[in-house]
């Protein structure tokens, strides 16, 4: 399936793309557009103004996708807290990883195009997922 989002990928869109490819649609193909009007008819838009998979009632797009696709994995919801704080910067959750992750993603967007940002950030989110999975299993900080 094709998925479209706003060009100039930062934390929320990078995390959404990782989430979509890993947990919603393994064959996902991503397009980057300037405006919602440029989204082709066969593509699902996300993290854009006025689309279903955007910011909804204080949630960032990552949280909206988790709700929409009924993903209840607690590790994903922990990552959602990090993405939320990094994106909205509103201290709603305790997420000390957020400022660092936000800076990394912003730096990536300065040194490469959106496809590269997704390619590089994907393994970062894989690592974040594994870390929090082990932490949840162990009930303490993993080594």
């Amino acid at each position: 399936m094709r998925w479209a989002t706003r060009a100039g990928v930062h934390i929320d869109r990078a995390a959404c793309a990782w989430l979509i490819r890993g947990f919603v649609d393994p064959d996902a193909e991503f397009l980057f557009v300037g405006d919602v009007a440029e989204v082709p008819g066969d593509a699902t838009p996300f993290d854009m103004r006025g689309v279903a998979l955007g910011h909804v009632g204080g949630d960032c797009s990552f949280e909206t996708i988790l709700r929409r696709y009924e993903l209840t994995d607690p590790v994903l919801w922990r990552i959602a807290e990090i993405v939320h704080v990094a994106d909205l910067d509103d201290d709603r959750f305790d997420a000390p990883e957020a400022p660092g992750l936000d800076v990394l993603l912003r730096g990536l967007s300065m040194t490469g195009d959106d496809a590269r940002t997704l390619a590089v950030s994907g393994p970062l989110f894989d690592g974040l997922y594994e870390y929090h999975r082990r932490r949840a299993l162990l009930g303490r900080e993993p080594a």
Partner: protein
């Protein structure tokens, strides 16, 4: 620039919007008109807020606006710088009154929040940074003291 109108009742969405606008550090140009220096990030932030206003049965629009005179532009920037300067001065005062690692952590967070909405850094920014460094060394020196 964002223009917006929200119904007076319920007051919840108004309060939320006000809090979010304050966090972004916008310039209030007029009733229902706020502005930020234009870049990809500020534009996106205002667009999400505009959607929130629409969802709360209000009307909103995001515009790329340019003042017609340099004086008008300077006044807008000076207003933003003055608002941040006041926040930095509060930080300096809070650093002077603080002494523990917990205070330090809270004030570092506060410093980051103010820095993020600081588009025209006033001289007070450096004063606040210095006060924070001073507090850091005070806290470090206390931690190095032998326990009696």
């Amino acid at each position: 620039m964002m223009s917006y109108r929200l119904p007076r009742e319920p007051s919840g969405p108004r309060t939320t919007l006000w809090r979010r606008l304050r966090r972004l550090g916008v310039a209030q140009v007029a009733d229902g008109v706020v502005a930020l220096p234009a870049d990809a990030r500020t534009r996106e932030q205002l667009e999400w807020l505009a959607d929130d206003v629409l969802a709360a049965a209000g009307t909103a629009g995001v515009w790329l606006a340019r003042p017609t005179t340099a004086a008008q532009e300077r006044a807008l920037a000076a207003g933003l710088a003055a608002a941040r300067a006041a926040e930095y001065r509060d930080l300096v005062a809070a650093c002077g009154a603080a002494d523990g690692p917990r205070d330090l952590r809270r004030l570092r967070t506060e410093w980051r929040a103010v820095s993020r909405r600081d588009f025209f850094p006033p001289p007070e920014r450096e004063e606040a940074a210095a006060a924070l460094r001073e507090l850091e060394s005070r806290v470090a020196a206390r931690a190095a003291e032998p326990v009696r």
